[in-house]
């Protein structure tokens, strides 16, 4: 129906190596509805990409598609230029919107994830120690994971994902419902991972966080990408109606003039 607005400067566009992760006309349908509609995005190596959009815009679905957890009904996901396969999935890790922790101790949660990736023995022990230290969970090693506070659970989920040594980390609203101190701790973990070379894809509703952590921004609306570009540029000067409404704290209505202009543009 409408074209995604690309909010890039020419210098940015000039240096584009092969993106780590790409989607080609990606679509996902369920219950007769197009929930993800012809999405074309590039996730660049070593960058932090923020995905924003209203509730139900399809952010979590897009992450699942990028991570290969669900099969697209149209288009494809390319990992380092090739269709995403099992090996590609192993190079990825994800922290879900609601952290899924096993009914075991903190330590056992980390050790389970590493075993699943075939990491055992001394190497596993080493990685667990590093992960617990980074997430400041060492003192809680033997505590059942499910009695941890929300912030501690989120930190454990991130530490577990990072312990697997992924090239890319997907985070689905990792700081929703956390207090400022916990948000800071989680953001620090993400920054640390990024500094270690992990590519970050982060879904957030928090404008401040998007500015702090985002290099690139993808704005979703109704399952479509309506705007992409450097996070700061998009947030300072949004071009699409939905992103503009979002940054101004307004609801976006279908009657918005932007929608009409898009339709006119389509016809010409």
């Amino acid at each position: 129906m409408f074209e995604a607005q690309t909010n890039t400067t020419s210098t940015d566009a000039a240096r584009v190596p092969t993106p780590l992760l790409q989607t080609r006309s990606l679509g996902f349908e369920a219950g007769g509805q197009r929930l993800i509609d012809t999405v074309d995005v590039d996730i660049r190596t070593g960058r932090r990409t923020v995905i924003m959009g209203a509730n139900g815009a399809g952010k979590s679905l897009l992450l699942r598609l990028l991570h290969g957890l669900i099969r697209p009904s149209a288009g494809q996901v390319l990992w380092q230029g090739r269709p995403l396969d099992r090996a590609g999935r192993y190079a990825q890790a994800m922290v879900f919107q609601r952290p899924v922790l096993l009914r075991r101790s903190v330590l056992a949660n980390l050790s389970f994830a590493l075993s699943a990736r075939g990491i055992r023995g001394r190497e596993r022990k080493r990685r667990i120690e590093i992960a617990m230290h980074q997430a400041r969970l060492t003192a809680l090693a033997y505590r059942p994971a499910r009695v941890l506070s929300g912030g501690e659970q989120q930190r454990l989920a991130i530490a577990r994902a990072l312990a697997c040594g992924p090239e890319i980390l997907f985070l689905d609203e990792p700081t929703a419902s956390l207090d400022p101190a916990s948000i800071h701790a989680v953001e620090e973990l993400i920054a640390q991972a990024h500094a270690n070379g992990v590519t970050i894809v982060l879904v957030t509703h928090d404008l401040g966080q998007a500015r702090r952590l985002g290099d690139d921004l993808i704005f979703l609306h109704g399952g479509r990408v309506v705007e992409t570009g450097p996070a700061a540029t998009v947030l300072d000067n949004p071009k699409s109606g939905p992103a503009k409404a979002w940054t101004e704290g307004r609801l976006f209505f279908e009657s918005d003039p932007w929608n009409r202009s898009q339709r006119l543009g389509d016809r010409s």
């Binding site: 957890l69 994800m94 879900f96 009914r103 389970f112």
Partner: protein, 235 residues
């Protein structure tokens, strides 16, 4: 005829005196039932977990079948096992009829569907929560089954308990395949049935009391374990 009170008193007398017949019967009961429950869990838990965790053709049919088999009539199972094990049956050469082994086989057939069907339910619920995380971590099929069984272990205690309850209280199947032979295949339920019909109410009632007490103790133990687990958020 004696009053209920005096019969009950005599029954407790038998229990407190650890009457050798009584001890033997209770011992065999526990041996048969616990063996049957153990074997049923060995088969039923992985089977139920597989049905609960994986999508495969025929999964719905298998689920319906398992649920239906939870209500197998013991006498029908007893009769079938009898026909299989009787001298002219396919397994007649094994000479297992009227042995505790035959009773274990019959009870295993009764309890395995219970273990499998209840496990499927428990594991399916847990898998709904874990499935995407497992997929994300790249956990293989065997790893999934064992992790689900492990994390559901406290709920599965209740599953084993349900199986135990069914087996220990069951008369029909063990009566048919065991034959209720004194000192060989006599268990609590078959003895209660026989002694009551003979008018030996003291022994029958004593066994009834033991059966109740055993059920109480085992239930209480399972509740205690679950309670501890719940406080540790492992349930």
């Amino acid at each position: 005829m004696d009053s209920f009170g005096s019969i009950l008193a005599e029954a407790f007398g038998l229990i407190l005196a650890l009457d050798p017949d009584l001890v033997e019967i209770v011992g065999l009961s526990l041996k048969v039932t616990l063996s049957a429950v153990a074997i049923s869990c060995l088969i039923g838990l992985p089977l139920g977990a597989a049905v609960g965790a994986f999508r495969f053709p025929g999964r719905i049919v298998l689920t319906v079948l398992l649920n239906a088999m939870m209500g197998l009539p013991p006498v029908v199972v007893g009769l079938t096992v009898y026909l299989m094990l009787s001298a002219s049956g396919p397994f007649g050469a094994l000479a297992l009829l009227y042995t505790p082994t035959a009773m274990i086989i019959a009870q295993t057939i009764l309890v395995t569907p219970i273990a499998a069907a209840l496990t499927r339910q428990v594991v399916e619920d847990l898998n709904r929560e874990y499935a995407e995380q497992f997929a994300s971590l790249g956990v293989g099929p065997l790893g999934r089954i064992s992790a689900l069984l492990r994390d559901a272990r406290f709920s599965l205690l209740t599953v084993a308990l349900a199986g135990f309850g069914r087996a220990v209280a069951e008369v029909g199947a063990v009566m048919i395949v065991g034959g209720n032979i004194n000192h060989v295949t006599r268990v609590m339920t078959t003895t209660i049935a026989l002694e009551t019909s003979k008018g030996n109410l003291q022994l029958a009632l004593a066994l009834g009391v033991v059966l109740l007490i055993l059920s109480l103790i085992i239930n209480a133990a399972v509740m205690a374990v679950r309670g501890t687990a719940q406080r540790a958020a492992y349930v």
